[in-house]
């Protein structure tokens, strides 16, 4: 992974927002010609909900990727978190806070395991998190036959369905989380150290950074974000769902969103703002195709092309920048 790109890319990318703007403009026009409306209330709300779910995961994923690691277990953490939350609440508002706390604690525990495997046991992140994912899958498969638990009505009504104008509460949560993470990356030692570890672990180590701690913290935070996404999904679904994470392809899609957002898969370069752009781009493509009722398989083909094309455009821009 280290040598994916030989060329330096400027840091303040969010060129993804250019792509996003273009996509929305073209999409709006095409949908209009088709006789629909892209920016009606229902569609916008749906779009932002989809973005919120993926976004919460992707923000966490950005952290580990920046640190030169990767988390493929997020999909299972999400499922687990929906179940822990919904089962603990069991339909009562009183158990809301303990349930959220427990779900986050369990998620953090998984993150800790990931982190320790990657650092203490030096297992490559790809394998470590894939393996932990399998462990969780086994647990979920053997203990759950389907949805379980009931989310507290208060949570469903607030996080799940409450919105301010066309903007769901969950999307505001995503924006807040993004802000916090952005700030942490730019202005805390942890952020500086994380980017350093991702850039070159040996350089970081020799400079006195405690790589292991930093990476473990990043993994815990990533899992926490996935746990948060799980809580949000539980609030949408009304119960815990043992497959919601994998069905949603949150593992690969979150990584795709991060990379589309301009963060280098090898680590050390990128940021969380771009990731949100990537998430919005993916969600917009979905929304547009939904409006146009494009066949799901055709849509998948187009998605594949758009993902590659979007990244290719940045890569070109970076290439030109580096040359100038």
């Amino acid at each position: 992974m280290s040598a994916l790109s030989l060329l330096p890319v400027r840091r303040r990318v969010p060129g993804v927002f250019v792509a996003l703007g273009l996509t929305l403009a073209v999409g709006w026009l095409v949908v209009l010609v088709d006789g629909g409306q892209l920016f009606n209330q229902a569609t916008t709300v749906s779009l932002l909900h989809v973005a919120a779910g993926l976004g919460l995961v992707a923000v966490g994923q950005t952290l580990v990727i920046l640190g030169g690691s990767l988390d493929l277990s997020v999909a299972y953490v999400i499922s687990l978190s929906t179940l822990v939350a919904a089962e603990t609440m069991n339909g009562s508002d009183g158990a809301l806070l303990p349930a959220v706390g427990l779900a986050l604690a369990v998620s953090a525990g998984v993150g800790l395991l990931n982190g320790l495997l990657v650092t203490r046991f030096r297992v490559n992140a790809f394998i470590a998190t894939l393996g932990v994912g399998l462990l969780l899958k086994g647990y979920l498969d053997s203990n759950y036959d389907g949805p379980a638990g009931t989310t507290s009505p208060a949570l469903v009504q607030s996080l799940g369905y409450q919105r301010v104008g066309p903007v769901p509460l969950s999307f505001l949560l995503l924006l807040a989380l993004t802000g916090v993470v952005w700030f942490a990356l730019a202005r805390t030692r942890f952020g500086h150290h994380l980017v350093a570890v991702g850039g070159d672990p040996e350089v970081a180590r020799l400079s006195g950074v405690r790589n292991d701690r930093v990476l473990v913290a990043a993994h815990v935070l990533c899992s926490l974000c996935a746990g948060l996404a799980g809580i949000y999904l539980a609030s949408r679904l009304g119960s815990g769902a043992p497959r919601v994470g994998t069905e949603g392809l949150y593992d690969l899609e979150s990584i795709a969103a991060v990379v589309i957002g301009g963060t280098a898969l090898a680590g050390g370069r990128g940021g969380v703002v771009g990731t949100v752009g990537g998430v919005l781009l993916l969600a917009s493509i979905d929304a547009i195709f939904n409006q146009l009722e494009v066949d799901a398989f055709f849509k998948q083909v187009i998605r594949g092309v758009v993902i590659i094309a979007a990244v290719a455009v940045y890569a070109r821009r970076a290439l030109r920048k580096a040359a100038s």
Binding site: P8, R11, A186, R187, T188, R189, G191, H192, H193, V195, A196, G199, D200, E202, V203, A204, R205, L206, S207, G208, V209, R210, G268, R269
Partner: protein
Amino acid sequence: MPDPPPLLTLRGIGKSFLGVRVLDGIDLDVAPGEVHAVVGENGAGKSTLMKIVSGGYAPDTGSIEVAGARRVLRGPRDAQRAGIGIIHQEFNLLPERTVAENVHLGHEPVRHGLVDRRAMREHTRSLLAAIGETDLAADTRVGRLGVAQQQVVEIAKALALDARLLIMDEPTAALADHEVELLYGLVRRLQQRGIGVLYVSHRLTEVFDLSDRITVLKDGRLVTTVDTADTSTDDLVRHMVGRELSSYYPDRAAPDDLGPVRLTVRGAGNRKLRAVDLDLRAGEVLGIGGLQGSGRSALARALFGVSPFTTGDVTLDGRPVRLRSPRAAVRAGIAYVTEDRKGEGIVPRQSVLDNALLAGRAVFPARSGHAARTRRVRDLLAAVEVRAAGDDQEIRFLSGGNQQKVVLARWLALDPRVLLFDEPTRGIDVGAKSAIHDLVRRLARDGAAVLMISSDLPELLGMSDRIVVMRDGRIAGELPADATEEDVVALAVGHAPEADR
């Protein structure tokens, strides 16, 4: 021994890598305000020792005392806490981060729990100023800097720690002379403040200029520690190499050794270079001088097709050539030994042999069979005296100097017509240096045209048949072989009128 406890006391330090003993029973101490030089051949174990003192490696045996107190350094962080800073031989910088971020990595200043970016920038500015580097902006991305400027950042990074003991592992390898002067000043100021300095260098002049005592390592063992005042260059060389080195530079080319013009460059330029005119004759060593950033490396990189000329013409043996890529250049018979060994010279996890065979394998299908090619490369590795556990050892485990020799062997195996050397002896010990000098001269005598960039003025003057000095991406002038250091510097900084060519 001085009265206050030594800043650093090493006793019986030993270290093995994968069963190979690299350091054995090293005793060493550094007093406050002392500059203690450590010298030795490539692979003698200097950098390993320095990394042990700075917490990068854990020693297998022995003890470390800092200011009289015994310490177990579990990592670089512990060493920093103990007041030990280090300038690494290989750069330890993050190309994607700014100068200020690099300088403060691991100990960012915080205010109210948040990183204080302004303090970081200002501190960096003052550190850079202390080294005399005033026009390097603190928020430039390090990846955009040339090697010499990166070296300056590396120094600033070590200074930022405000250490009691500063280790400098070949700090001047990438520096030009006037910057070396600035570094001298810096070291003396540190000395006055009672800071101890461990100074590793292959440039014996520096060692004599700066140090109070000198420790000589050989094959991982301590040969001797002497007071600088009581020793001479010849003594030191004998300790290091185990034999006398008679003369430093081989004879220059005689006028009738020079062949026809092999390489001509006319009116060539690109983003970094303008109006470059150059003739390079077979059999000659053309030295390229200049300050850092003057475009010397850019010239070599243009000729090698890395960032090609966009204007002008290049001919090779009278035929026009288009050097659009390194591969095209290699095919045309050009070889390039880069200045950034770690980033561009080696494939770290491949064996010594694979590294030496790389270019041949990539560009030319084995001309006379694989076995013959391998045999030839093995001979060349022996000829340049690579020291390794075997030619199947991964090259990253070799000392810097030995890595450089492997890179040389890689190119020699291709019998190039034109050789571009960018700081060929950077980080190479005296013995090997003179071997490389002999080699370069022999290559020229055998008919190759050699272009040699060097920031080491004595080397430049000693080796070159002609010297071209660059400034601001142009050729500032040309000097004959008997030029003086002053002539070169004058041209490089632009004080002297440009000489006719």
